[in-house]
């Protein structure tokens, strides 16, 4: 809180009885659900995911929620959540939780194995359910993937999904070998995801390939 906020809050003291009955009921908490793709060649990128997790742990505040889940052949399952936490309102306890969270994710990155297929949609549905349960004011799904969805024949994902009021951000969308041959494949893949996510009611769709730009995303 800066000097301006200090001065602004002075009249608030005088209005304390009024505030007692009219406190701000909106949630100011932020909830982030991060999907980490572990399929095929993208499994090599998992170390970068650890950097993003660390960055987010440093940026999130007490009261915020954070979960990291892997994207596998079928990802619509609680079992795929590697670590999740709603940080305590007390900053010291929140720091303890963050340390434990980091260790859980580190253990995962050390033992991560590649999967045969990539079920991003299942992960999105699971993420939306988690975020809606938190009741946070700002909800974000980070997809750490090449955004190339590959499903086995038995898995059904071709139905409309609900991502209402959720921001969806694709992070570190690496180019595949086929993208290098024809770059239009890369852009059309991202365009298709954008259409799908926006049709699902997402508040925003973004692609961030430079991790440093995540800072602006969390502040906005």
């Amino acid at each position: 809180m800066n000097k301006r906020s200090f001065l602004v809050s002075l009249p608030a003291i005088g209005l304390a009885p009024w505030f007692a009955g009219c406190t701000d009921q909106r949630s100011h908490a932020q909830a982030v659900y991060m999907l980490v793709d572990t399929s095929g060649t993208y499994a090599q990128e998992v170390d970068k995911a650890q950097l993003i997790v660390n960055y987010l742990l440093g940026s999130l505040n007490p009261g915020d929620s954070f979960a990291v889940a892997r994207v596998r052949s079928r990802s619509f399952s609680e079992k795929d959540i590697i670590a999740k936490a709603t940080f305590d309102n007390r900053p010291s306890q929140a720091n303890v939780q963050k340390r434990a969270f980091r260790e859980q994710v580190e253990a995962f990155t050390r033992s991560a194995r590649g999967s045969a297929y990539t079920d991003i949609t299942g992960g999105l549905i699971q993420g939306a359910m988690f975020l809606n349960e938190t009741g946070a004011g700002k909800k974000t799904i980070l997809i750490f993937s090449d955004m190339q969805e590959e499903l086995d024949k038995a898995t059904v994902r071709d139905f409309p999904i609900d991502l209402k009021s959720i921001r969806v951000v694709a992070v570190n969308v690496v180019k595949l070998k086929t993208d290098n041959i024809d770059p239009r494949r890369y852009t059309s893949r991202l365009d298709e995801w954008q259409k799908r996510v926006e049709a699902a009611g997402a508040s925003e769709w973004r692609v961030i390939n430079d991790i440093e730009h995540l800072d602006r995303l969390l502040k906005s």
């Binding site: 906020s5 608030a12 304390a16 100011h28 960055y55 440093g58 309102n89 720091n95 340390r99």
Partner: protein
């Protein structure tokens, strides 16, 4: 005595002298209160973070105002109030006549209560300042571990100086705030005179502005009337000429008609 007589006579000279005196008091009191507000801001900075450990960092009163920030401010204002009561019971200030009129048997315990509360709050603030330092160190350690960088080796004595400094500040500032009672009294007593003088000045300024505006409007209207006369003279002349020519033609036509009637009768 001569001055008193002049005061009773309400002479302008004495009135001016008294106003100037009140203005000086007001300026000095304002300056001291502003300095104390700076101290309160530092005090607030010292305790806002550790207070969030008690009341939670995620609760908000308004969109931007955290409950912990308000709680920190409440503590600071409470300290200032205790200081006010302490100085009042010490009969240094005279803001509350009821406290002034209390018998010593009641006033003394009240003074000690205010002093003990103020000292307790100062002790709490010192502890909060220590807690703040620990929390910042913990946060820094967490960020370092997340960034996977080696923690900086700090000299133990050098590292403790800011901690001790913060604790001392946390303990001293509440007592410093307590002394605000003295300039506050001067501020309140002089504010009445200064406020009155300011109101008089405002009324005079307003009267001047209104008079100026009235004169401007009056002169402007006479200019407008003159301008209208200048402009309207041409259409009026044309109207007169047109009416004059019409009048002539209609009168000649009327004469011709009379001739015809005479001829018919004959």
């Amino acid at each position: 005595m001569a001055k008193y007589e002049q005061i009773m006579k309400k002479s302008e000279k004495v009135e001016h002298q008294l106003t100037v005196s009140a203005l000086t008091q007001f300026a000095i009191a304002t300056l001291v209160i502003a300095i104390a507000a700076g101290g309160a801001l530092i005090n607030y900075k010292l305790i806002a973070l550790p207070i969030s450990e008690m009341v939670g960092a995620g609760d908000y009163l308004t969109a931007t105002l955290r409950t912990s920030d308000v709680a920190a401010l409440v503590i600071i204002f409470f300290e200032a109030t205790m200081g006010l009561f302490l100085f009042e019971t010490l009969r240094i200030t005279h803001l509350f006549p009821r406290i002034q009129n209390l018998p010593d048997s009641l006033r003394r315990p009240m003074m000690w209560i205010a002093f003990v509360l103020l000292t307790s709050l100062a002790g709490i603030e010192a502890a909060l300042a220590l807690m703040r330092d620990m929390m910042i160190a913990d946060k820094a350690a967490l960020l370092q571990s997340l960034a996977a960088t080696q923690p900086h080796a700090t000299d133990s004595v050098l590292g403790r100086i800011p901690t001790v400094g913060q604790m001392l500040l946390g303990f001293i500032l509440p007592f410093g705030l307590a002394f605000v009672a003295i300039p506050l009294e001067s501020f309140i007593t002089s504010a009445r005179t200064v406020g009155g003088a300011a109101l008089v000045l405002l009324a005079r300024g307003l009267a001047f502005a209104l008079r100026l505006a009235g004169n401007l409007v009056r002169n402007l209207t006479s200019v407008l009337i003159t301008l209208y006369d200048v402009v309207i003279v041409v259409p009026l002349l044309i109207e007169r000429v047109v009416k004059g020519s019409k009048g002539k033609s209609s009168s000649s036509h009327a004469v011709g008609g009379e001739d015809l009637a005479v001829r018919e009768r004959s």
